[in-house]
């Protein structure tokens, strides 16, 4: 079943040139992009800086309005949704950002942060806020006894887990991860990726996973869209995009990824 459909979305920004007197020019950040997200799947969008991947994610999350094109969610056109309709959409679609600390209010306790989406949606958990927050903390691998601590008292990996717990508070159907593991150390990154995959298996929601790191994308996605200069240049099943890329840009991108010397790596794994 198709959960989300992006149809011919274009986003233009008006910019000025280098001098103050320069004429206004329009910059097309996203250029006629279309894709679908199936229920329960992970669609990754990869690209380099300026490729339009984050703008696409923001449009899908309704944080930005497209210049043209439509966003269909659960069979409803939500491109210009407002009021109640938008509130429901915001309930179903959650976002996890790159920098965990800047997306967590430093003055709120973890309990308050995690239960904030419930407040916005006017939901009161039957077991009470604390029990609800603690249960979620446990699910994402945080110590529930720490629910009255503040974000600054957690490490980067833990803070990202708080962001994930908050996203899950309202049982979303789609979670959009915008470079959600990019700022983390490699050992922590592996743990958070495992967590994201486990949560999806447990709850069956979909991910749109935005990342610049192709190796990370390979770990988590079923389908991959490669973006370059605002356009999707290639979209297909993961193994096809990685194993038999059709587009020139995809090939360049894959070739540029640094790799651990394969001979050394094979030797080490054999010994282990």
């Amino acid at each position: 079943m198709t959960l989300m459909e992006i149809r011919g979305v274009t986003k233009q920004f008006v910019t000025r040139g280098e001098s103050m007197r320069a004429r206004k020019t329009t910059f097309t950040a996203v250029d006629d992009v279309s894709f679908e997200v199936e229920l329960g799947e992970t669609l990754a969008i990869v690209g380099e800086s300026g490729s339009g991947k984050s703008t696409t994610a923001r449009i899908a999350a309704r944080l930005l309005e497209p210049t043209s094109g439509t966003v269909v969610f659960d069979g409803q056109d939500v491109t210009r949704a407002r009021g109640r309709e938008l509130a429901r959409f915001r309930n179903d679609v959650q976002v996890v950002f790159q920098d965990p600390f800047s997306s967590l209010n430093p003055r709120y306790t973890v309990e308050r942060i995690i239960t904030a989406p419930l407040t916005y949606q006017g939901i009161t958990p039957p077991t009470g806020r604390r029990a609800f927050a603690q249960e979620l903390m446990e699910r994402v691998g945080l110590n529930p006894d720490h629910c009255r601590r503040y974000p600054a008292q957690f490490s980067g990996g833990q803070a990202q887990r708080i962001g994930i717990a908050r996203a899950l508070a309202v049982n979303p159907k789609l979670v959009i991860c915008d470079e959600a593991v990019s700022a983390l150390d490699v050992s922590i990154q592996a743990q958070v990726l495992d967590l994201l995959m486990r949560l999806q298996r447990e709850s069956g929601f979909s991910y749109i996973f935005i990342a610049h790191d192709l190796a990370v994308v390979r770990q988590i996605s079923q389908r991959v869209a490669v973006m370059n200069r605002g356009r999707i240049v290639e979209l297909g099943p993961r193994d096809q995009v990685f194993g038999d890329p059709q587009d020139e840009y995809t090939k360049t991108l894959l070739a540029a990824v640094p790799r651990i010397n394969p001979e050394w790596d094979a030797k080490r794994r054999q010994a282990q």
Binding site: Q189, A190, L214, N261, W264, D265, K267
Partner: protein, 266 residues
Amino acid sequence: MSDLFVVEDLTVTFPTSRGPVDVVKNVSFTVGRDDTLGIVGESGSGKSMTALAVLGLLPRGARTSGSVKLDGIELLGKSERDLRSVRGNAISMVFQDPLSSLNPYYTVGLQISEMYQTHRGGSRRSARQVAIDALDRVGIPDPARRVDHYPHQFSGGQRQRVMIAMALCCSPSLLIADEPTTALDVTVQAQILELLAELQSTTGTGMIFITHDLAVISSIAQRVLVMRSGDPVEYGTAEQVFSAPRHEYTRMLLDAVPRIDDEVAL
């Protein structure tokens, strides 16, 4: 391989309200001419502090002990004035973020020639020519025109090339690069790594390359030092560290690296 740069038992201590804390503990390594040492570790491992310590660039209050020798001359304990004649001259550095290392008010040419004139003197005109040659060497197209441009007129990858041009304009014997490609796109990163390797092979500059990225280390370093929480965990040739790591932490780190060529089950 003659040893250009020898660090022995380097320890860096910071005073804190709870007493002194060692952020780098008894680190030893050597870098030969034409040799690249990779220092790898996660955040808080002390890899950047090691680089700052050998350059005498630590924040005030930090104490260092041990020995840092360049061409047999001890650098630790040297006066700030003496160190200034070493930095940018015999030892150069390139940092992660070129925008914060370049002055937005001055053209890149002025910044490169200032660096050159400070250490080598000479006329403004000859320094300008040095800047143009340096930009040419790092692959900036049309260097005679670009020399008069400001940092914001360059792309991220080009800015890092400018930084490398500046670092190499005095023909240093050692280049310290701290996460020089971390902020760059993967295709640009590949170009910068290629450039560094190529420049090194033509100039014979020794290099310390600091990064969190094991795959990058594997492609550029001959020797590797793995650090964690200020401790030197493992030190050896790249082949030894990657193919037969002795330490549990190195193995864990290598296992955590996501692979792009592996078959992964979902």
